[in-house]
Each structure stands twice: as C-alpha cells, then as structure tokens.
C-alpha cells in the first residue's frame, strides 16, 4: 500500500480540519505527495465540515469520489452518516462517537440517530468500523486532552495510514505545531495510537 485517501467529517469547531492539516504537515516532512482539500464555508458556525486528504499519489485531483476513500474519520455521530458513501468496500471507518445535537433535535422536532443505527449503516457498506467513545479519552493531570489529536493517533495506530507515515514523526509534527501544549498533545497522540491495540481492533480489523 503506497497511497491512502482519507475523508474527515464533523462539526465546525471540533478540530476536524486540524487533523488534516497535521497529516499534511507530516506528509510534507516525509516528502510524501499529498493533497488536502478542506470544505469549511460555514465551519465556524457549527455546520457540517468535511476535508479530503490524498496521501502518496502524485498528479491526482483533490476530490475523493463516492466509494473512493480508504479511511473515513468522523468526529460526530450524526455527521458520520454523511460520509459513509465515500468509503470504499473494506475501508476503515473511525468514528468518534461525540453527540452534538442540533437545536431541532434538542427541541424534539428532529430525530437523532443511535450509535447502533450509524454502525449498522457503516457495516452494511462492508466497511470496518472502529468506534471511540468520548468516555474512552484519558485525562492528563486532570486536564481533558484534545479529541482530534487523540483521533489522529488512533488513525496512525489503527488504519493503513501507518503504512505511509511513521507515527513518531507525526508526533513530532503535533508537538512542534503547538510548542506550549506539546506535553499534553504528545500524551493525547500516544493514547490514541495505543487505543486500537488495546481494543484489539488493531489485530482484528485493520486491513493491510
């Protein structure tokens, strides 16, 4: 495996685009061809946000078509549904099961999907689904770690991204991105990196 097409989705403000930005920097440092295409028109206002990241392929367009993504990382349960169509059969879906209910749901006007409904949709596509609950995130010295950095680690630990990028060099990119927070971010990244192995997902689900 020499390429990886990755789709990131979530809600504006979660740091979804930052995951893509960090991977892009890591690819740059590793001299790996990369294309990063964020869609963020309304991101600051709590809207759906999506980014496409293509690693390892030269001369390709920025868009990943339906059924073309090797990996999807979704940071919000309901928005994950909008990304399923991008996944290729047998691809890896990394779902951070954060629940961010729109106002219409809080008012009882709109419905919100259950986790089982979302994973059933993902598995119906023949994809491998790895779910990380916000409760799984460790703290460091009583401080909450960044979910997006944790997820970045999990993606390196549990998806084919690890065939393209060296986890330790990605960690250096994370640490140098925010020097003042490098300690907690290293912690978050490493915790994420270990998460698939601890869950056993690493052995069972990751397709080379």
């Amino acid at each position: 495996m020499t390429t990886c097409d990755l789709v990131l989705v979530g809600v504006g403000g979660q740091g979804v685009l930052t995951i893509g930005d960090l991977l892009l920097r890591a690819a740059f440092a590793a001299d790996l061809p990369a294309s990063f295409c964020p869609t963020k028109g309304m991101a600051q206002r709590g809207g759906f946000v999506k980014a496409e990241l293509r690693l390892g392929a030269e001369g390709v367009g920025p868009r990943i078509g339906e059924g073309g993504a090797d990996v999807v990382i979704a940071m919000e349960r309901s928005e994950a549904l909008r990304a399923i169509g991008y996944l290729r059969p047998g691809g890896m879906f990394l779902l951070y099961d954060h629940v961010w209910e729109p106002t219409g749901v809080q008012l009882g006007v709109d419905t919100y999907p259950t986790l089982d409904e979302v994973t059933a949709e993902i598995e119906a596509e023949g994809a491998v689904c790895m779910v990380i609950s916000p409760a799984d995130l460790p703290e460091m010295d009583g401080t909450r770690i960044s979910p997006n950095v944790f997820l970045l680690g999990a993606a390196l630990g549990g998806t084919q991204l690890r065939d393209l990028l060296d986890a330790s060099s990605v960690e250096e990119v994370v640490a140098s991105r925010w020097p003042k927070a490098s300690k907690i971010n290293r912690h978050a990244f490493r915790a994420g990196l270990d998460a698939p192995r601890k869950r056993g997902d690493g052995e069972n689900h990751v397709l080379g």
């Binding site: 309901s78 009882g108 419905t111 949709e121």
Partner: protein, 722 residues
Amino acid sequence: MTRLILTGNQAVALGAVQARVKVVAGYPGTPSTGCIAHLLTMNLPERTVEWSTNEKVAFEVASGAAWAGQRALATMKMSGVNVAYDALISIAYSGTNGGLVIYVADDPGVSAGMPEQDSRGFALMSDLPMLEPASVADAYRLTQAAFELSEAASTPVFLRLTTAVALGHAIVDLDPTVPPPPARDVVLEKNITRYTKAGSKICKDQHAALIERLDTAGEWISEAGLNRLELSDAPGGLGIVSVGAVNAYLNEGLDAARSAGHQVGEVSILRAVATTPFPIEEVKDLLTRCDTVLVLEELEPHMERAVTVAAHHWGFDGPIVGKLDGTLSRIGEYGVAEVRKALAACSTQLVNRGEAGDASASMTVPAAKAGESVTILPRAHLATPRSDSGDLLPGCPPSAATLTGEPSKTVLSSTDLAAPRPITVCAGCPHRGSYLAIEAAIKQAGFAKDEVMVTGDIGCTILGMNPPFNLLWTEVSMGSSIGLAQGYVHAGIATPVIATIGDSTFFHGGIPGLLNAIQHGTPLTLVIMDNGWTSMTGMQVNPGTDAEFQPEGGRRIDLVKVVEGLGPDRIEVVDPYDVPSMTDVLAGCLTSDGVKVVVAQQECAIQARRRGVAVGTVAVDPDKCILCKRCLKVTGCPALSVLPNAPTELGETVEDLTVSLGSGSNVPTEQAPREQEPEGSGTPRGSIAIDPLLCNGCGICVETCPTNALVRVGSGTKGDAK
C-alpha cells in the same frame, strides 16, 4: 390600429406599455436611453418609471416587482449588463413570477463608445432566453412576446436591440391604447429554496430548474413560431441562418449578389430572432435540406459555433461559411455589403461543389483535396444523428433529469438518517438580537410575520432565514436587498417593506440601492447589522472596522456618517443586544413614512472575544428552570443545551422549525413535532445548561426566560464591545 413613426427604443417602450408593464427601471446609456426617456413623456398612472442609480439597482427594482407578480422591465446599454450581472445571474437561478424583461442595446460598430461587447454571451452564460428584433416593428411585437414568454417559462428574458434598430426610425402600425397594469395581488411567497442561495443542494436544484426553464422557453418559442424557416423546394443548395438585425439586409444582399453574378441558386433561410435557446429543430431542418450553410450574425460567432456543433452531430459535411472560416469579421456592424460578400463566398463553395442552381441529384464532384472525391447525397440520410444520445445535441440543454445525476443509493439512505444541522449564528452574535427585534417589531406594529417582506443580503446576516428565526425571504447578490425591497413597494404591497444588510455588504454594494430609495422617496426600512467586520469569510477588515486594524496610512470610515450623508428621512443607531429598545425603534419605523435606516451596532462576538473584550456570561439557576426550552426555541443559541438526563420532548408546539439546512443537505423536515409531554407526569425535569466557553453574556436569552432562571453575570458591560 394607428400608424406612427417610431424609433426602436420607443417601440420597446410602447410594446411594454401594451404588455401592461407595471415597473420600468433603467440607467441611461446610448443606444438604449430612448426607451425610458419616451416613457417619462407619457402619462402612465399606477406605474413606476425611474432612472435608477445604476443598472444593477434598476434590475433589482424590476426583479422585486416581478417576484411580487407584476410585469417589469429593466433597460440598459451593453455595458450596463456588466454592472447588473451579479444580481442578474442570481435572479436567473430563482426564475420569476411576473414577466421580467431585460432590454439591452448593443452597439456593433461602436457609434457611442465603450467596448464592442456582444451581450448574447450573457444570455448563453445565464441560460436566459434572448429575443433579437430585426426591425422597429419587430421590437414592438417581440417586446410583448418577451413578457408572455417570461411568464410562460417563469424566467427573465433578454430583449436585445442593436444600434441601428434601437435608434432607427420606422413607420409602425400599433395599438394606441394605454391599458392599465393588471390588478394582480402581490405575491408574497416565503420559500428560501427558491429565493435564496444558501447551500449546495438549493443551488444545484436551482441550476437544474434554470435549465428546465430554458427548455420550456424553447418550446414556447417554437410554438409561437418566432423563428421563421423557409425551405427551398428542392433539396441541397444554400441554407442561411440570419440573426437579429442582419435579417433586415438579407433580401437586399441576395438581390445584390445575384445581380453581381454570384451563383447562389435557390436558398433556404432561417430568420432567427429568438437565439437563446438555440433553435435546434429549425437548424436541424436546414442542415437536412441544404449542402452549404451560411451564418450571418454581428459580432461574436455564437450562433455559428452552435450550428457547427449541430452540423457535426447530425453528420452534415458541407461547408459552413461565416466568421470561423475567415469570410466575415467579428468586428463592426453588418449591412448589405457583408451579406453580399458572404454570399459571394458561398457562391464559390457552391460552384466548387457543382451545386449552384442544380441541387436535385446525387453526384460526384472534384473535392478540395487532390486525389479525393466526395459523393454528395440528398440530405435525407441526416435523419439519424451521428452520436447515440438521441436528440441531445452537444452543447444544447438536455432535460433536467439527465443533469441532476443519480446519487448513489447508499449515500442517500445514510445521509437521510443524519439529523438536520441548520446553520445558525454563533453564540453571542449581535445579529440574533436584530432578528428577534425585527420579528417583534413587525408584531408590535400590528402586522403578521408572513405579510411583511424582509429581504436578506449576502454574509452572516442571511442566517436569519434559518430556524429559529425564519425571518428573511430573499438572498440575491451583494446589496440587492435594498433594490429588491423597492421593487416590492412599486408592485403595490400594502405592508411595510424591510431590507437587511451587513456593514461590509453595505459598503460593497448597498449604498447605490439606498441612494436610489432616498432619491425616489421609496418608503422602506433598512436595517444595517453593523458588526464591524467581514465575518462570514473569516473576519476580514472592511472600511468600517476599528481604526487600529486599518492599513497603515489608511483610515476607518464611519458607516453612520456615510448614511447621514445620503440623507434618509430617519437614522437610528441601536444596540442589538438590547432587543426591547431595538424593537421599539423598529416598530416606530414600520409605522412611519419615508426611508428609515436603523444601524444595529455591536461588534462580531468572535472578534470581540479575540480582542479580549469582557462582556460576561449567563448562568442558569436549575431550581428556577422549568425546562420550557423557550430560550432555546427563541434564540437557537449554540451555547444553550438541554442537560443530557432531561427529557427531550417539547414543552409547547414549535411551528417554525420546519426547514432544515445543512451543507449539502437541505431536506425539509416533514415529521410533526413530538407529542406534548403530559403535565405533571413526574418526569425529572433537568434543566437548561449554558456552555461557558461559548457564552459571551449577550443576555438575549435572559429576556426570553419566563421564570428568571437565566441570570447575567460578570463585570463587563455590553457597550464595551464596540
């Protein structure tokens, strides 16, 4: 009928009057000026005829009236289309209710100056039908047809004259009566999927609908027989496609060519005056009948290119004479000389092919390339198109069904399960206060929300069209809110009209619209939501941003002073965080005459936070909160949420949360609100929670709480933010 001497401009004016136009707005520009100039000499009660600030404002005024159901005309020279186009392309995507005609006068040969541009390119670019009268009499007739077509296909229609037709005088028979505008009810349709541009799905659906309207227009034009096709008795020979003004020189040119000894034989002629959409059927008939085609059009070879594509598609292998083969020029005005010159070139082609004067049989003739020969067959074999795409011509509009594409079933079903995520304004956004004040003022002034047009504009301020506000009706282009609002006034709306716009958008394109309203005394209330930044795109500096952020050597421009300088009847500066006061001011504006401008000033909450402006926060008293969720329903503030252990049923019915907007997925929510929770059911109540990281203490939610469970805390005062 009366016989009169008219110019083309007057013919357009009288044609529009005969079509019972209600609103005419334009900006002077030779050769189009004579149209409105003539209307201003007439006694036209119950109609509005105005010179607007510029062509874009004129088009917006006309469009507002047309959206309100009346017939409206906007007039301009070709350069004016460049100015109007920002609004024009957006209105094209929405279509129209009443007939909406854009009269543009092109100037091939440049008798009046400015670039020799061909406005037909705008019709192609915007997928709007275009009619091109060949004569003054044609202009009178086709102006009326343009209004009929506009309403039949629900689309704006271009009417293009060129200098010779617009300024030329001719004797025309016409109906001398001046019929009044029809008594039509004002159309007030609140439908953001049609009248705004917010979201990928809305815009893609509008694009498909636009193309479908052009199809409908093509059918109407065909049925009305606007383009006249005369086929020669015998197959073969020369076919001529003649466009617009050139039609007037065709017969004369043919005579001149024949007199000069050019062998053109029997000719078939398509006299095209409706050029967009491309007259596919007529051109196909011409290509099927003829061996050689001549396209006669001034300026750019738009028609010729389309004919060439059609020829390829239908397997036509004869020569196409025009500009692309170098025979004719793309520069200057055409007359008999050009027609004759083109026919001479055709004659050479026909003689080479042995066709002139004898086109009846299949024959072999010497071909252009040495050593080859071609067999010329009667054109009947062209009945089958070259490609297998049915009747679909490349470059011609296919039906809407083939355009939208079939999304994969998976994407559709999974996405349908996702909760709608309408985009709303940020926690602490001052616009929230403006929306609530506008809605409250409408009620306070004695009107219903659905009878007061509130036009929206580009930027964050448009988010008031979404739940929970559902306040804004339209979104067209930068500054269009103000021109559109005037159109609704001129259409005869009985209720007050409100326009809304942000500070940056006002500086960008709103000032000309406000000038227009003030100059003409068109009553409206303009709310400028001045948050000091160009926020939607990521907080860029605009002319009104605080001086400390302005470029070195530059300066801040005081928006209020700009408005004062324009001289509206009333200017009010209010704080949108103080909803009750802003409501009172607005209600006063809605019940008074003239042009009122309300500037709601409060800095963008995100930027204020970044600058460290301390405003405070709001706390919840859980003992007092009865979880009626009124704060959430009224404000939709992202800082508010229901604590996870609390029930999610509604305390009371919410009617307005029926339209959902998410990026790329705008799905109207059909489901009814959930059953009301029985009172006293003993369910643990829970409470509203406020995210302290998001809340900036604007306090708008505090006003909504019936039990005083929300309390403003913190030391900052609201006024600090500006």
